[in-house]
Symmetry: C2
Subunit: 566 residues, 2 copies
């Protein structure tokens, strides 16, 4: 049923699948070669298998509150797939399943969909798979497309979420839940696969609870997606997309490192995607060995100020200058500012002042700031001060996300170095170059790891739905072993949850997995960083390869975390 590939003699081929979103798209040679790349599956899928329940589960925190919020689901066991001579799943059952992509893109999303599609083809022939368009809004508005073999084909092993697109809407209000119910009833859905991050999986669990509570047959399974790598736990060792995104960024960082060493005159300040947690920055550091790496979680734990961070950089830059190195590479997580308590304080005060007071040109308004905040404000470069005062979001608030931290730090480092030069403690030359590596990492062709991992997540989700499970997140483990040895199961979503108080009510949340300062990846980094600071141990991973060297390398974070668990 695969559409034909018409090679056009050049470096590209045309995919002629007539119903696909990528109709008549021209594919590059590398994209084309990936489409037909066949993926191995964990060996449990080679033969009949059964699903074995684990012990009753609890919650990540406040189990009593979680029990109240999820009366139907709380306590249900996580499950594992194990080989079994007699297949415990009815193979003659035809299922109707919906799938939705939620939130920001992550490489591999399309493979989750091809994974569940292939499961249904292989094990529940005659089943139907619907793709909800544009994220959760597609569920609420009942905007969907039937996903056929032809439709899916051009997206196999491809980056992006464009097969059915994604969205950031949430199903939150009673009306929205009602809409979702109407959709699943209208389509007579047996199951729904929600591919998303922490919020989307929380939402998936609420949907599962709601459907179960209303005696609807629709089961809901989640799938861990986010390049940020902050949705993980013991049973879910990593979120998909993290591997590819980090390798794309690491390629660029490695290139910039060689450039730094070749010119000998630039400090490259590289801001990396990842607002909440610094996993991407940490992984990129482990892959490339930069001179300086700031990890947000450490900044927060040590309650560092912006001045501390600047001084840390400047101290290393001065020492490097003494060694004759007036160049270097510095990694900064996108969310750095959010980790610095004094910055949060300043922003809060500014929002207050901007909302209620007149900002006079002579700067008398600054007297309304606390001492600490005024000091910090005046420590900030002019351009950042102006940005804080001028650019507001629709609610009139300061737009912290718009601050280009890498540029701000370059200016602050410059100022401090100038001071030290005048004091005679620095005799080097400094020239900063800023970079933000972000969007280019979210939609690249998935690495072999992400391609296989996602395919297994999707295939496993099919098995969970097929066996009547709900409120689980698809979990594939033992990821450092060959794919054949990977484990497959489902983890009770309620077991990942805690509550947060919002507007006086308890809301269930899956806490973001932050960089653990006691975890193996950070400890490895911490043990190396002094060496990396003063010597140049740059490592240039090069472009992601799909054949040959490093094509099936596992990222450091995963290797170290799984090693540490063993």
């Amino acid at each position: 049923m695969s559409p034909s590939l018409v090679t056009n003699g050049d470096v590209a081929a045309v995919i002629t699948a007539p119903v696909a979103g990528r109709v008549a798209s021209v594919y590059s040679e590398v994209q084309t070669s990936r489409i037909d790349h066949s993926l191995p599956l964990p060996s449990v899928f080679r033969n009949p298998f059964k699903i074995v329940d684990g012990p009753p589960s609890s919650a990540a925190g406040n189990p009593d509150e979680i029990a109240k919020l999820f009366p139907n689901l709380f306590g249900q066991p996580s499950v594992m797939l194990v080989p079994n001579g007699a297949d415990s799943i009815r193979s003659d059952q035809k299922l109707k399943i919906g799938v939705v992509l939620s939130g920001g893109q992550a490489p591999g999303g399309h493979n989750v969909i091809s994974g569940i599609f292939d499961y249904l083809q292989d094990r529940a022939k005659g089943s139907i798979l619907y793709g909800f368009r544009g994220g959760p809004a597609g569920i609420m508005k009942c905007k969907y497309v039937e996903l056929t073999a032809d439709y899916i084909y051009p997206y196999r092993n491809q980056g992006g979420f464009d097969m059915i697109c994604s969205g950031r809407d949430k199903i939150e209000t009673p009306e929205q839940f009602k809409q979702a119910e109407e959709t699943v009833m209208k389509l007579d859905l047996d199951g729904l696969l929600v591919i998303g991050g922490d919020d989307s999986n929380t939402n998936a669990c609420l949907l599962a609870e709601n459907f179960r509570g209303k005696n609807l047959k629709t089961q809901v399974i989640g799938c861990p997606k986010t390049i940020d790598g902050d949705l993980k736990c013991k049973e879910v060792p990593t979120s998909f997309g993290f591997d590819t995104a980090c390798k794309i960024y690491a390629e660029m960082i490695g290139n910039v490192m060689i450039d730094a060493r070749s010119t000998g005159k630039y400090y490259h300040f590289v801001r990396l995607m990842g607002r909440a947690a610094s996993h991407i920055t940490l992984e990129c550091a482990l892959q490339t060995h930069p001179n300086i790496t700031i990890i947000g979680e450490e900044v927060a734990a040590k309650k560092l100020t912006l001045k501390n961070v600047t001084d840390y950089m400047v101290d290393i830059i001065c020492k490097r200058a003494e060694l004759g190195y007036n160049y270097g590479v510095i990694l900064i997580p996108e969310g750095l500012i959010d980790f610095i308590p004094e910055v949060q304080q300043l922003i809060a005060e500014l929002n207050e002042i901007l909302a209620h007071d007149i900002v006079d040109e002579n700067g008398l308004w600054k007297k309304k700031l606390t001492d600490q905040s005024r000091k910090l404000f005046e420590f900030l470069p002019q351009a950042i001060q102006e940005q804080l005062m001028l650019e507001r979001d629709p609610h009139g608030n300061v737009q912290v996300a718009k601050i280009e931290t890498e540029k701000m730090l370059i200016q602050m480092v410059e100022t401090e170095l100038e001071k030290r030069k005048q004091e005679g403690s620095y005799r080097g030359r400094f020239k900063g170059q800023s970079h933000f590596f972000g969007y280019e990492g979210r939609c690249g062709l998935p690495t072999d790891f992400d391609a296989c991992y996602c395919y297994a997540l999707g295939y496993g989700a099919g098995a969970l739905l097929h066996s009547g499970k709900t409120g689980l997140i698809s979990s594939v483990g033992n990821l450092c072993a060959p794919v054949e040895e990977w484990t497959v199961g489902g983890t009770a979503l309620t077991s990942l949850m805690d509550v947060e108080r919002r507007h006086g009510k308890f809301k269930p949340v899956i806490k973001k997995a932050m960089v653990e300062l006691e975890g193996a990846p950070f400890k490895k980094f911490a043990s190396m960083r002094e060496q990396w600071a003063l010597k140049n141990h740059y490592l240039s991973p090069g472009p992601i390869q799909f054949v040959g060297p490093a094509s099936n390398a596992v990222n450091h974070t995963l290797l170290l975390e799984l090693g540490a668990q063993a």
Copy 2:
């Protein structure tokens, strides 16, 4: 003699070459795999060859002036290597050769050096190769290192210029020429290989002329380097590094395209390296099919204003909105602003005013601008106006190079769209994301094409020096055929030259090769761009592969230019 590779069990290997600049560097698996990748050579090198002179040459322009500037070299023929039963080059001669890297990095530079080294090993055993450190300054200061097999080994097929580093100094004044003479005499150099762009090759020719005029034995050969792709002519079909840089940028652009299509809400404005010519932007457009591409040379030829460029973008954005596409990808060459005559005029007027007048806060100073310039200034976004007024270089001039054109255009497009929205002619949503892809493209691992091309350029340069030639640029042709069929020769540098009047004197220059609006690459682009504008024909080349699909693809510019010549 190769140092051993100690695999450390992880994804990297340590190169233990004790004398190398990359001592104890940890190499990634991909880097390691490239080091021992053996390169094919053009078949002319398989057997004895001789060097055949072509007809007497002239100059690219003003031959009379070039003849005066190069009395010893003007008119000398270009040469070709041809197979010959009896080797015409004395193979027992031991040579002393110096090599220098000049200007900005370009992937493949290290392979030029390994190419000439291997030539000397293979054909002039016992020869010595010196590497001048830090660019032409290394020649003037006689700062060099002897390049041995061990020294060169870790840099084979690797990116960057860090083997001997580069620099932007020029050998210009009589004193500097004197220093260069002293160095070549001190080292008893038979030859010097200058790896650089248009300026560096002009300089190489001046050195050749000077040495010849003073009866020094040192011959000088140039080598065409620049990622910008603007050093080329009939005999030199491309400069090295262009292929790799474009493929690195195209990978990122392709990723951003999939992201744009997946989110459906961003216009990505991508500025690409290349100040003088827009070859990189054009090649990336041919590789990826963006919705809008601005080519500086066309803007200049059509004498477009900034308003014209903005309107062109806005017209397409409006049409796309009608089709339901509120997203897209736009490529902008780094040097765009330099191509717009009215901007040049404004900058000149601003420099004049800033130097001599008081800039009052009420803006009365603007009356000193001509009508056209005042209009343009007021058309510019506030932030750019401020940048023009505040940021000056050490000479007090406006810093045009610091203007982030992509951000400026986003603001201008936003303003214009707002206007059209109010007029009722636009009902879409617009959100711009800015990118600059620059430094990450200069030092990547060279593509197979650049690796082979550079190796042949270096190997050929060895042959030219061995046969006593001077004032030539190493020329490798027939580049769309398999490497075995590539032609090897040397082109008289004087034949590429014209003169420019500077400070009342004629200066020889190799004119930069700009994008030809009548050339095949631009015509291909022009024939496709309307289709690309409104339909989404995005092509995502993916990461550069060293094995398998597309690993030996030739770039479009070269394919089209060589096809057009045939």
